[in-house]
Amino acid sequence: MRIAPFIISTFLTVILVFALDKSWPIGGKRLPALGKFLSPQQGIWQNAEPKEYDFSRDLRFPELKGKVEVYFDERLVPHVFAENDEDLYFVQGYLHARFRLWQMEFQTMAAAGRISEIFGNNEIFINYDKETRRLGMVYAAKNAVKEMESNPISKSGCDAYTAGVNAYINSLNYASLPIEYKLLDYKPEPWSNFKIALFLKQMSRTLAGSENDLAFTNMKSVFDFNELMILNPQVADSLEPIVPKGTAFDPPGINPIQPATADSLYFNKKDSLALNEISKPHPSNGSNNWAIAGKKSLSGSPILCNDPHLELTFPSIWYEMQLSAPGINVYGATFPGSPSVIIGFNDSIAFGFTNAQRDVKDYYEIRFKDDSRREYWFNGKWEKTQLREEKIRVKEGRIILDTVAYTRFGPVIYDIRFSPEAAGNRSIAVRWTAHDPSNEGLMWFYLNRAKNYTDYYNAIKHFTCPGQNMIFASKQGDIALWQQAKFPARWKGQGLFVMPGEDSSYIWQGFIPQVENPHVINPERGFIASANQRPVDSTYSYFIPGNYNTTRGITISKRLAELPRVSIKDMMALQNDYFNRIASEVVPVLLKNIDESKVAVGQKYLGMLRSWDFQAGPASTAQTVFSAWWDSLKVFVWKDEFDRIHANKYLPDTRTLVEALIRDTAFKYIDDINTTARESLRDAVTIAFSRALPNLQKAEQVGALEWAKYKNPTIFHILKTVTGFARDGLPVGGDGNMVNAITKSHGPSWRMIVHLTPLTEAYGIYPGGQSGNPGSRYYDNFVDHWTKGEYFRLWMMKRSDAMDKKVKWIMKFSKS
């Protein structure tokens, strides 16, 4: 009888196949479905792209109207030539998906609060999804897609793009899925215009969400308003605003009035919000851009430069492309997930962006009638909320329900259901311009086709959030910058703290008229520069709080002012500039005040600072010493005062301390309030240095005193834990306050220089590669050039260049 062994071995086979066909959670991590995953004919081996892979294809799709040719150059940059707009965006969608499908889908899943569907039952991810939904990301994207689809131009472009993405998705089988799907064992779902909207809203979340209203509210319990303004000055002493100082501003078109109750219910109300704030964007997001007028350039033609500092990831947020069709020929960095070129140039103009850092998000305290949250008190009566049920479908598990109440301000993020830790059942709603219906994509549609300043100006008016410094230069010789968005007109102090939400008196009274947005057009000095600083000096008519960076802007403005005639080489040098302005201002003060007799062992490190040229390159040890000392000093100065606040702390910006030390060595916060003695600056810098010493000695022992080794800049894969797909130990210097703003995780994600000579001369690079596939040699092939500060010459191809030897592969698309 062989029945028993047959049954046993068959049973074993089936169990094995079942077990290996499924991914398993093992202590926080997931073991992939090993059978599927390792199968050479279907699994990850299929993602191992042969070195001599041929990307050429002949593809047919019923959605196309005509023929489209795509020429890939040796860097795998596609140059797309279509006969009409719809085909152009169809192919852009197809190519984004072909090379970057996983990231674009993942980012939109994150924007929709759906990552638990991918990662499974883990409180961190479930909480992230809840936060995302409570912030109203889905609500915002729904409003946006309605607006987008009501405009025939946007609708046809987005429909075509979406069809292109889906054409690629539909061509996939398990073998051809991007490797991340195999790792996490899931499949892509159909793309949609809604996902495009989600992607753009994710940018608002990253770039228009750095307000500190909850932290400031809590600071109010410890500091008075005056102190708060000293700790967080609206206008830094050293500010180099984007709009040159002395520019006259028009009288304001709207005069917001402070409510009569402001002193008692708002400014002087001592409050403490003990709730866990939802995650906020990383403070290192930022950017530089500048434009040089022909009269200041060596060639006589304008130059435009841009380098957005975002989180450096694999795959990169950028994908380089040329898009060409009748009426459009544009080159630059695109967002996989959205149609159009985002930062780039066409045959007439160049355009770029930095973040405005303006606060467009305010909070209102809501009084619900009861825990059902169906009604809230507003203008003397109970008003109904709209309750939206959010379903979080955790992978392989339960469905988590969360109901979010929407008020006239916006969604109530914090309430008894989400923030049970908040004493006194506090309920706080958010008013955020990203929720308002808007159609940002339309700006890029027009910008990509703009021929001159007027076209640019008409294009940018479609843009409402996140606020951007939109730089422009044209071959006609104009340079310009508008800080563009829909910005609330605030009375002084409005929106710094959580506001009373029981009546309409604290509501935004209107928006700053678009024409009054800060702008510069062909300035006398021949250049325009922005680097996340406050855009205007104190003479601007409106109160405009924001999370500004002052220092980079000073370095750039000073450098550009010094240069008599600017060359492309100067621009490359400036984008890669490692000058540490803060150190140059502060180190003399530190060295002058330190009591060396108390830190004898640190002499060698002080010596490094004494001979330092303030260049924070990768090999600089002085930068490491400075950084450790400065961080330690900040802790010494602020920790005692801020320890009195128990939740949602926000320490003052570095600039505050820099300017305080330069202005006043007796700055009152230097004293440690927890000691009876009154600490002087001498005590503070000495103690701070002695506390930093062990870190420096430890670093030196392991050979990591050099700045690049000390900070270990790393480009992670979007899935942070998959370190095998990351690149760490990059030999780069810099820091967030330097022009070359490379931190541990963030940095210039796309460096671009466009010289608007009759035949455009453009350069660009991003730290990544065109392919999102870790198994491709085009996954990270730009990184080593980027770390060296090198650039690629950007090739605006003409159709007649099809035979050029730079063309390596051709994809032909036609109607089937």
Partner: protein, 117 residues
């Protein structure tokens, strides 16, 4: 001789199955070969195992060579195998072999049962 033929046939059939079926087509291939070639349960297991071990290991080796081990090196840190590409190839072969071995054993037992009846 039978043993060798079984290995080669398993590898060939498993390869063809891989073109049309999901990864577990290897089990069907190994099962069918064992059904046709008369071996005991033990030898059937070994020939099934070796057939797919060699196929998967060989294919993985070939694919990885053309890729200059770029991806395998990364995946071998994810799994984690210390970045060792050869180990990843061996694990690949082993996983495939394991499934095929038991499937072949089933085939062999089923054959011996059918014959008796």
């Amino acid at each position: 001789m039978k043993f060798l033929v079984a290995i080669i046939l398993t590898a060939l059939l498993a390869f063809v199955a891989g073109l049309f079926l999901p990864w577990w087509g290897i089990a069907i291939a190994a099962f069918l070969v064992a059904l046709v070639i008369n071996q005991g349960g033990g030898p059937a297991w070994v020939s099934g195992f070796l057939g797919v071990f060699l196929l998967w290991g060989g294919l993985a080796f070939w694919v990885s060579m053309k890729n200059q081990d770029l991806l395998a090196g990364k995946v071998a840190t994810v799994l984690p195998l210390g970045g060792n590409v050869i180990l990843l190839i061996l694990v690949t072969g082993f996983i495939g072999g394991l499934v095929a071995g038991f499937a072949a054993m089933s085939g062999s037992y089923l054959r011996s049962r059918t014959r008796r009846q």
